[in-house]
């Protein structure tokens, strides 16, 4: 049945970044490929292997692919991590619909149909949420804490960003620019870009249940990621609001402390020079000014590049005759048109 491949494009591209556990790759492929076949869909599976796990490649070569679910293996040239692996996979994907999976079992393949259907109902990206969860209370506590902070800071509704299962349209995948730890925030970034994002619950697999203890560096890294996303989604165009508020806060705190110290000197004759608190106040004021000045620099950077900054994304151009031109003007196209003029 090669017919449906005639346009050179499968129904679904499945991108699997192999950056950590990879013991069950053959079984993972087997179950998801079978589920796709059961849904009557053709698919290409793209395994993107990070360099430090090149040992996974021979195992992948041994898998006997199903007739309409071929396997494509890409080996990255260095230990570039999950964001780079996903980006590579997205660029090779030929189908309109892209599924991403973790390199081990997180959720049951049976959820695929529901996720693809949500896409057909108008969502641009469907994020899986492992629910109900069957793993240890410690894992669940970590997840809750992490997502509680993220939800509060970014005012978004997601419960399980670390779930690798996502289904999205190709244009979403192409528009995301992922680096560092940003792969963990794909639903959030897509939402910020104005795409329709849905979260759907998927039953968790037993293989996913190993309790995860991470070292301190991991947690610090996660916190930095959260800060990064918070800044990226809120303040990239208004750096002075972020640094300015922070700086003004620090400055007023320091100023207040010193004011109190001076008043005490005047009214109660407490010697100023005996007090370390005076130093603290001065330090805070200085820090405040430094933070604020960085915000000003940020503002200058935005301003001097603002001619090419386009914040909006157009979903549709309506004109007479009423033929909607979807995604007509993307930023790059727009700039090209502008340069031609």
């Amino acid at each position: 049945m090669r017919t449906r491949w005639s346009r050179g494009e499968p129904d679904v591209s499945v991108v699997i970044p192999v950056v950590e556990r990879h013991g069950d790759l053959a079984q993972l492929y087997g179950e998801f490929a079978a589920e796709l076949a059961r849904l009557g869909l053709t698919a290409e599976f793209i395994f993107v292997v990070d360099e430090h796990l090149r040992g996974a490649v021979p195992a992948l070569r041994e898998i006997q692919p199903l007739p309409e679910q071929p396997i494509d293996v890409v080996l990255l040239g260095g230990p570039f991590g999950e964001s780079a692996a996903l980006t590579t996979g997205f660029h090779r994907a030929r189908a309109e619909r892209i599924v991403t999976l973790a390199s081990y079992f997180q959720v049951e393949p049976s959820g695929l149909g529901a996720a693809l259907q949500a896409l057909d109902e108008g969502a641009d990206l469907v994020a899986g949420r492992r629910h109900p969860r069957i793993d240890s209370w410690f894992n669940r506590l970590q997840t809750r804490l992490f997502h509680g902070i993220v939800r509060q800071l970014t005012r978004t509704p997601f419960h399980d960003l670390s779930c690798g299962f996502k289904v999205m349209r190709r244009r979403v995948a192409r528009e995301l620019s992922l680096y560092g730890g940003l792969h963990r925030f794909i639903p959030l970034l897509a939402l910020h870009r104005g795409f329709a994002v849905r979260e759907i619950p998927l039953p968790q697999r037993r293989e996913d249940c190993a309790t995860r203890y991470f070292g301190t560096p991991t947690y610090v890294g996660r916190l930095l990621d959260i800060l990064n996303v918070f800044f990226l989604t809120k303040f990239t165009r208004t750096p002075l609001r972020f640094f300015g508020l922070l700086g003004a806060g620090l400055f007023s705190l320091g100023f207040g402390i010193d004011l109190v110290a001076v008043l005490e000197k005047v009214f109660f004759a407490t010697g100023l020079s005996d007090r370390a608190v005076l130093l603290l106040g001065v330090l805070l004021m200085v820090l405040g000014v430094q933070t604020l000045s960085l915000g000003l620099i940020g503002e200058i950077i935005i301003f001097t590049h603002a001619r090419h900054v386009r914040d909006y994304r157009i979903a549709e151009v309506i004109k007479n005759p009423p033929r909607p031109e979807l995604e007509l003007v993307e930023r790059k196209d727009y700039e090209r048109v502008r340069n031609l003029r």
Partner: protein
């Protein structure tokens, strides 16, 4: 195309049809060719459906629909980007601006201005919640930027397209459009326009968080100040810290001279000297660094003025 009329809309389902009728009547009497460009800023009501109906009826009307709500600056920016007219007129989608003022705006623009800004002299809004904050904000903007206009918040404005297409808009700069444009060398003027009470819905673009406006204003103030020499601007900012350094240093010397023999010399004033000196040098260095940023960017003072003079006017 002579005139493009740009209208940002956010949940204006009830008013958009009447808006279209009023605008087309007013624009039709101008004896210039015109188009209407409606920007749907991520409305969640039936605005998009209404837009389809209107666009299907009238080929002079186009609409852009945003993926989500991006705010008024982005909506205006999109309108400017897609405008085909030589003159761009912007107005609010809530029918509070009067399309009958188009003629006045265009005539004033023809007297040799790049931006003509409307002034709602007889404003029909609530006094305490809208008008008083607005008067204070406009006074502050005028005092800080030197562009003394009465009504920065009025969307009803006319621009020469070549100026507005080069404008640098981002974040929520729609509050400071005229000052920002004067920054690139535009000649601006203000005319009194009509203002009508709200008929449908409620106000959406209010001054919600005052601190944001203050910090944005600080940014505009700085951008206006730095057009020529950012290093100088930051150097001026560092002067108080230089004074602080000198005072603290003097205090340290004084303490050093007067400390009684056998007593411990308190380190507080030398430490303060150091901290202030840090801030002072930091600001000087940041100033130099910002020179670098400006030089590598594409901003040149008076960028639009030069082009509009060389291209002449119609």
């Amino acid at each position: 195309m002579d005139v493009t009329i740009v209208v940002p809309l956010y949940n204006e389902e009830e008013s958009v049809e009447m808006l279209y009728r009023e605008v087309s009547a007013a624009a039709g009497s101008l004896r210039r060719s015109w188009e209407l460009l409606l920007i749907d800023d991520g409305s969640t009501d039936g605005t998009a459906g209404k837009l389809r109906e209107i666009c299907a009826l009238d080929p002079r009307v186009r609409a852009l629909r945003f993926r989500r709500n991006y705010g008024q600056t982005a909506a205006l920016q999109a309108g400017f980007d897609h405008a085909e007219g030589q003159v761009v007129i912007t107005l609010d989608g809530d029918l509070q601006n009067d399309p009958g003022d188009f003629g006045l705006l265009l005539d004033t623009l023809d007297q040799g201005y790049d931006v003509v800004s409307g002034w709602r002299r007889d404003r029909k809004d609530r006094l305490l919640s809208r008008r008083v904050p607005s008067i204070a904000a406009n006074w502050l903007i005028g005092a800080l930027t030197g562009v003394r206009i009465h009504d920065n918040g009025c969307t009803l404005k006319a621009y020469r397209a070549e100026v507005v297409k080069r404008a640098r808009l981002y974040a929520e700069m729609h509050r400071f459009l005229t000052p920002m444009m004067s920054l690139s060398g535009s000649r601006w003027h203000e005319v009194a326009v009509h203002h009508r009470p709200r008929r449908f819905g409620r106000s959406k673009y209010g001054i919600s968080r005052i601190w944001k406006v203050f910090l944005d204003l600080l940014a505009v103030k700085m951008l206006l100040g730095f057009t020529l020499r950012p290093a100088k601007w930051f150097a001026a900012l560092s002067v108080p810290f230089l004074i602080g350094t000198l005072l603290a240093f003097a205090a340290s010397v004084y303490v050093d001279l007067t400390v009684a023999p056998g007593h411990r010399y308190p380190l507080v004033f030398p430490a303060i000297t150091l901290l202030f000196a840090f801030a002072f040098t930091h600001l000087l260095i940041v100033g130099l660094f910002s020179e670098l940023v400006v030089r590598t960017g594409d901003f040149r003072p008076g960028e639009t003025a030069i082009s509009s003079l060389s291209e002449g006017r119609s």
